[in-house]
């Protein structure tokens, strides 16, 4: 028994680099050889899916991209799935970016989904408006007069020459907003300055860290559900019936979480043994 206690104590004092190594191995193996665990959609994800599913055909939907390459594994699968869903249901998509890096992410997603998967026509089925600096001011600009803010699209084409932009003056002309966000400016600002004051429904996909911050808006009905981190993205992929990067990432995340829990248990065991021994002396 003492030998076991000594071993646990030794593990309890282990250098954090060993924890990093074990975690890296635990994440690496399922990525190489996926297990394929079943994915169960949570209520918040189902709400996002149903809201988009219930939009009438040819609805004008604004998709705002507010993330950078750092959170690409979490946010990008959401963007891909949402675009797939929108194009599958023949909606018209308008893409804006509040982050400069978001423009690269949006371009990548549009190329994959709009061009390669659905063969949609630029200017008729979707428009890429791109990034404008100004954080909340951009949102306020879209709400008051989008044409004042965006005179040209990302390819420097005049807005007036894009057929899909006909009849689009401000935020109220959109039927729905989806914000894929990793921080500021992002989902919270869209709720405060656009969706809530105008009544246009919105949903969002956020990183796991951000879920706490946006949950009050979901619960109060100011947001129609939320895709919460990579699990949220994987759940959406499951609802869409099209597995993607998020689904394959969930095996690794499951194992990683289990490893962390195991370390916490071992750490506590070491803590108790140490406390017991110190009481003895």
């Amino acid at each position: 028994m003492k030998a076991l206690e000594d071993l646990i104590l030794k593990i309890g004092k282990v250098d954090r680099r060993w924890i990093f190594l074990v975690l890296a191995i635990a994440v690496f193996i399922p990525i190489i050889k996926p297990i394929g665990m079943p994915i169960r959609a949570t209520e918040t994800t189902k709400v996002v899916f149903n809201t988009i599913e219930n939009l009438p055909e040819n609805s004008k939907v604004l998709v705002s991209i507010e993330y950078s390459p750092s959170t690409k594994p979490e946010n990008h699968p959401m963007t891909i799935s949402i675009l797939r869903h929108l194009f599958r249901n023949n909606h018209k998509v308008f893409v804006t970016c509040l982050w400069p890096d978001g423009q690269f992410m949006a371009q990548d997603a549009l190329k994959q989904v709009a061009e390669e998967e659905f063969g949609k026509v630029y200017g008729e089925d979707y428009v890429f408006l791109g990034f404008r600096p100004g954080n909340e001011a951009v949102i306020k600009g879209i709400v008051s007069n989008i044409r004042k803010l965006y005179t040209v699209d990302v390819y420097q084409t005049k807005i007036d020459e894009i057929p899909l932009m006909d009849g689009i003056k401000n935020f109220k002309d959109f039927a729905f907003l989806f914000s894929c966000s990793a921080g500021y400016p992002g989902t919270v600002e869209w709720v405060q300055y656009a969706a809530d004051p105008t009544g246009v429904p919105m949903s969002s996909g956020v990183t796991s860290i951000q879920v706490n911050e946006v949950m009050p808006y979901v619960q109060s009905g100011q947001m129609k559900g939320v895709l919460a981190g990579m699990p949220g993205a994987a759940e959406y992929e499951a609802l869409m019936g099209q597995k993607g990067f998020a689904t394959s990432g969930m095996d690794a995340q499951s194992i990683a979480h289990l490893v962390i829990v195991l370390f916490i248990i071992l750490g506590n065991a070491a803590f108790f043994i140490e406390r017991k021994r110190s009481r003895k002396y």
Binding site: G183, I209, Q210
Partner: protein, 287 residues
């Protein structure tokens, strides 16, 4: 009714507003009247308490261990002959948290000037750099140590979130500061910074209103100022009566907010169950 002057001015303003309102409220957005009244009421409460404090009334302030620990942390750095690292968040001066972070920096700079300890402030925004420099310069002057101040103690790294985190981590690993203070608006870089600070054995104190980052700081730092504690830091550190009065005013407002929440919940319950009264939520929702 201790402050007659205050009440006379407030009554005058209310009468003026009522006249304006009944005269047809030109150019006033009437949908936002509830918000307007709330703002005036909160401002009046804060002002009243500030005036009371200025007149010499003493208020009890709950001790906040994190703020007490700042001086200890600076003292520890002095004993160890190592610098103090101060991170004012990653956002610009248009965020109140950054402003609060720069204010606390002023107090910390006074301490480092007093203890003759070196201070290192890497920033991620140019305007923050200018503001932080001015604050530090003034603090060193006020402590009578302008010779110890140099512009480069506040230096710019980059605007990019993770490049900034990498830069600050590099400073931590190379210089091994004895105290790391994180005061401002933070995002995902919070844990990267705090864990690196922990690994070098620095005493760490964080202050932020970024809800998502509070758990990370609580986990990795020795002390964390949560939300409003962080905004009250200036009052605690300066012990100026007008600032302390403001903190008390804030607490008064909080009591009022709690009362409104309870009352609105009750009213809504009565309205939705028996259809009596009015929809309190609709009244309080600002368009």
């Amino acid at each position: 009714m201790k402050d007659k002057q205050f009440w006379i001015v407030l009554s005058g303003l209310i009468v003026a507003f009522l006249i304006f309102w009944f005269a047809g409220q030109p150019m006033f957005n009437e949908d936002r009247v509830v918000m307007f009244i709330t703002i005036v009421a909160i401002s009046a409460t804060l002002l009243y308490n500030i005036r009371m404090a200025k007149r010499g009334e003493t208020f009890y302030l709950r001790p906040i261990p994190g703020l007490k620990a700042i001086e200890e942390a600076v003292g520890r750095s002095t004993e160890m002959g190592k610098p103090v690292l101060y991170v004012p968040g990653i956002m610009d001066m248009d965020q109140v948290e950054t402003v609060a972070g720069v204010i606390v920096l002023g107090h910390v700079a006074r301490m480092t000037a007093r203890y003759e300890t070196s201070l290192n402030v890497p920033v991620s925004r140019s305007i923050v750099m200018k503001a932080a420099r001015e604050v530090c310069r003034e603090s060193y002057m006020m402590e009578g140590r302008p010779d110890m101040f140099n512009d480069d103690m506040v230096h710019y790294l980059t605007d990019d979130q993770f490049a900034y985190a990498a830069g600050v981590n590099g400073i931590m690993i190379r210089e091994k500061p004895a105290a790391c203070l994180y005061m401002g608006k933070f995002y995902a870089e919070s844990l990267i910074l705090a864990e690196t600070g922990n690994s070098i054995g620095a005493i760490q104190i964080a202050g932020t209103a970024s809800q998502a980052q509070i758990p990370f700081f609580v986990t990795a730092c020795d002390y964390t100022l949560i939300g409003e504690e962080f905004f009250a830091a200036s009052a605690y550190l300066s012990q100026k009566p007008e600032l302390i009065g403001g903190v008390r005013g804030q607490d008064m407002v909080k009591v009022a907010v709690i009362s409104v929440i309870i009352l609105a919940t009750l009213l809504r319950f009565i309205y939705e169950t028996w259809g009596v009264g009015f929809d309190a939520i609709k009244l309080l929702t600002v368009q």
